[in-house]
Amino acid sequence: MQIKTMATYAANGETPEILFWVGCAGSFDQRAQKITKAFATILEKTGVQFAILGKEESCTGDPARRAGNEFIFQMMAQNNIQLLNMYGVKKIVTACPHCFNILKNEYPALGGNYEVIHHTTFLQSLIDEGKIKMKEGGVFKGKKITYHDSCYLGRGNNIYEAPRKVLETLDAELVEMKRCRSKGLCCGAGGAQMFKEEEKGTTRINFERGQEAVDTGASVIAANCPFCMTMLTDGVKETGKEDTVKVLDIAELIAMNME
C-alpha cells in the first residue's frame, strides 16, 4: 500500500479526490493510529484516491481555542489554511470530530472554505454506493454493540444517524445507552480536558460514561472520536470489564468486517 502526501500529488501536477486530515491523535497516539490505519485501509480497498499532508499537517488549534488561547488557535489555523489553499484542497475527510468541527465551522471565517466530512458520514456514503462489501456471516453478527455519540459530531453538528446506519450494516444488535443522541453524555475529553487532570469531583466523567456503556450489556462500544476512545477505554477498565467489552472506532469495525 502506498499512502501519498499532498506534496507528492502536487509535484506530479495532480490533485487527489480527498484530503485525509489525520489529526494529532490519529498521527501520534498509539491506539488512535490503529483507527487511522483502519480508515486508510478502507479508503485503499474502496479505491478512493486520497492524500495526507504528512509532516506538513499541524494541530487545527482546537484544544488551544477551547482552553481560551485564541492566539495559538489563530496561528495554527492561519498556517493550515495557507497550506490547504496552496494545495487547492476542496474536500477533507477526517476521523476526528474535533478536527471536523473546527475545519468545517470555524475555518471559513478565516478564509478556509472546504467541504469537510467526518469519516462516519464518508463511510455511510461508501456503503450506500455499494463500494464496501461485508464478509459473509459477519464478525459481529448477533453481537451487541452500543454507540457513543461524541459531542462535536452529535450536538455540535447534528450528526446522529450516519454512524448508526454504518453500524447497522454489521448485522449486530444495536443497543442504546439511556443518554444517547442529543442527550448523550460527554466522555470528558472535550474543551481541552483531554490535556489536563479533571477538577475535584465525586467521580470521573469517563468512569460515569464507561459504566453506562457497560451496563447496556454490549460487548462492543463503538466510538467515532480518538479522544472518546481513550476516555471510554479507561472508563471500561475502571469497571473491570476490559476483557469482555471492547471500545472500537466505527472505521475499525467496518475494516474488520470488510471482505
Partner: protein, 440 residues
C-alpha cells in the same frame, strides 16, 4: 362611593404600570451594558425559533409529562389574562362585566374556557410544588437554589394558585347572585366550573356574598398588579424574555465557537508583516475575553435575565453530574446577580463607580470554568435558548490571554502546539510514521 372605588383603582393601576415600566427600563439598560453584537440576520429563521421554541415550547417536550403541565400553566396564564382586560376596564369605568352585552352568547363560553384553564393551572402549579418540595428531584435540591431562589420558585407557584382560586371564587359568588336575580349582577348565562359550584353559596346572605365577590375581585386584580411588579425581580421574568431570547438565539451549529477578529488580525500581521503598512493604528488596548458583565455580549446578559433557574442545563452537564463545582445554571444566576449589582450601582451613582468586584472570581471561580468540557449539553437542554457555554469560554479567554492563568498542563499543551504543532510533545517528523509503517 363608586367614584372612590374608581379612583382607588386608577391609582393602583397607574402606580403598578409606572413601577413596572421603570424597572423594565433599568433591566433594558443593564442588558445593554454588554458589548454590541449584531443578531438580526435571517429573520425568517429567528421567527421560526420564536414560534417553535418560545410559543411552542419545543424543548420542554423532551420531558412530555412536565411539558404538558407547564403548557397548561403557560397557556392558562396567558389566556386567562385576556379576562384582565375586562377587569381593568370595569375598574376604570366602574361597570360590572362590561363585555357581556358586547359578546352576548360568546361570553359564557369564553369564561367557561378560562375557568377550565384556571383549574388546570391550579393543578399544574400544585404538582410543581410537590415536585419541588416533596419529590426531591435532583435539579431542585441543588445548592444553586439555596436561599432566595428556592423561595422565589415557591412564591410564584403559590401566587398563581391563589390568583386562580380568587378568580374561581369570584365567579362562583357572581353566579349565585345571578341566580338570585340581583340587579347589579348582569345575567351572563352559566359558567362551566363556577356555575356548578354556585350552590355552595345557597345559604349565604346577599351582603356576605357581595362582600366575597368584591373582595375576590379586588384581591385578584391587585394580586396581578403586584405579581407584574414581582416579575422583574424574579426568575419568573422568563415568561416575557423567553420570546426575545428565542429570536436572538444563535443560529450557527452549536459546535462553532465565535471568532475573535481582533486576534485574527494581530496574528495575520505577525505572519504577513507586509500587510501592516496599510493597517490603521489600533484604538487603545484591545481586551480579550470577559472579566465582567461589560465585556460579555448583550445577548449573554439577556440570557441571564431570561433564565428561570430550572436546572435542565446542570442536570445534563457532565461536570455537574460527576460532582464538579461547575453548574451552568449557577453561571447564569451569577451573571444576572452581577448585572443587577452593577445596575444598582448605576442607579445610586448616576454612572458605574468601580466597586472592586468582577463577575470572574467574585461570582464565578476558575475551578468552575476549568471543569467545562464544552460538550454543549447545557445549550442543548435550555428551553429558552440560553448559552451558558458562551459565557464560560469568554471568561476562559480572559483568564488565558489577559492573565496567563492556566493549569500547568495547559501551559505545556500550548507550548507543544506552538513548538511541535501538536498538543503532545512528539516530533513533527513522526507525524506520518503510521503511513511509513503501512507503506513498507
Amino acid at each position: 362611593m363608586r367614584i372612590v372605588q374608581e379612583l382607588l383603582f386608577i391609582i393602583a393601576f397607574g402606580t403598578a404600570v409606572y413601577l413596572f415600566s421603570t424597572k423594565v427600563r433599568q433591566i433594558r439598560r443593564n442588558i445593554l451594558l454588554g458589548r454590541d453584537e449584531d443578531l438580526n440576520d435571517h429573520p425568517d429563521l429567528r421567527w421560526k425559533n420564536v414560534l417553535l421554541l418560545a410559543f411552542g415550547q419545543k424543548k420542554m417536550f423532551r420531558n412530555p409529562l412536565v411539558a404538558v403541565l407547564h403548557f397548561f400553566v403557560y397557556a392558562g396564564f396567558i389566556i386567562i389574562n385576556l379576562e384582565i382586560l375586562e377587569i381593568i376596564l370595569d375598574g376604570i369605568v366602574g361597570t360590572h362585566r362590561l363585555f357581556v352585552p358586547v359578546l352576548g352568547g360568546l361570553y359564557p363560553i369564553l369564561i367557561s374556557a378560562f375557568e377550565v384553564l384556571a383549574v388546570l393551572v391550579t393543578l399544574g402549579c400544585a404538582i410543581f410544588l410537590v415536585r419541588r418540595n416533596i419529590l426531591k428531584i435532583r435539579r431542585f435540591m441543588s445548592r444553586d437554589l439555596n436561599g432566595w431562589p428556592r423561595s422565589d420558585a415557591n412564591y410564584i407557584l403559590i401566587t398563581e394558585i391563589v390568583l386562580m382560586l380568587l378568580f374561581l371564587t369570584m365567579n362562583t359568588a357572581d353566579q349565585q347572585m345571578q341566580l338570585r336575580g340581583s340587579e347589579h349582577y348582569i345575567a351572563t348565562g352559566n359558567f362551566l366550573v363556577s356555575g356548578s359550584l354556585a350552590s355552595i353559596f345557597n345559604n349565604t346572605p346577599d351582603g356576605t356574598l357581595i362582600a366575597i365577590e368584591r373582595t375576590c375581585w379586588w384581591l385578584h386584580i391587585l394580586g396581578i398588579l403586584a405579581f407584574l411588579n414581582y416579575l422583574p425581580y424574579s426568575k419568573h421574568l422568563h415568561i416575557i424574555l423567553a420570546f426575545p431570547n428565542a429570536y436572538y438565539a444563535r443560529l450557527e451549529p452549536m459546535g462553532e465557537m465565535e471568532n475573535m477578529p481582533a486576534v485574527q488580525r494581530e496574528v495575520q500581521l505577525m505572519l504577513q508583516p507586509e500587510l501592516a503598512a496599510n493597517e490603521p493604528a489600533p484604538e487603545g488596548m484591545p481586551k480579550f475575553g470577559a472579566k465582567d458583565v461589560f465585556d460579555l455580549s448583550w445577548k449573554n446578559l439577556l440570557d441571564a435575565y431570561s433564565c428561570t433557574e430550572c436546572g435542565r442545563c446542570s442536570a445534563a452537564c457532565p461536570a455537574n453530574i460527576t460532582g464538579k463545582a461547575l453548574s451552568p445554571r449557577k453561571i447564569m444566576m451569577d451573571t444576572r446577580d452581577r448585572a443587577e449589582t452593577v445596575g444598582r450601582n448605576i442607579n445610586e451613582n448616576g454612572e458605574f463607580r468601580d466597586d472592586g468586584k468582577t463577575l470572574l472570581r467574585d461570582h464565578i471561580t476558575e475551578e468552575e470554568l476549568r471543569a467545562c468540557t464544552t460538550c454543549n449539553a447545557c445549550v442543548q437542554e435550555c428551553p429558552v435558548s440560553i448559552s451558558p457555554l458562551d459565557i464560560i469560554v469568554q471568561l476562559r479567554r480572559h483568564l488565558v490571554m489577559e492573565e496567563s492563568s492556566a493549569p500547568a498542563e495547559w501551559t505545556g499543551m500550548f507550548s507543544n502546539i506552538e513548538n511541535n504543532m501538536a498538543p503532545w510533545k512528539f516530533s513533527m517528523d513522526d507525524r506520518d510514521k503510521w503511513a511509513e509503517e503501512m507503506n513498507q
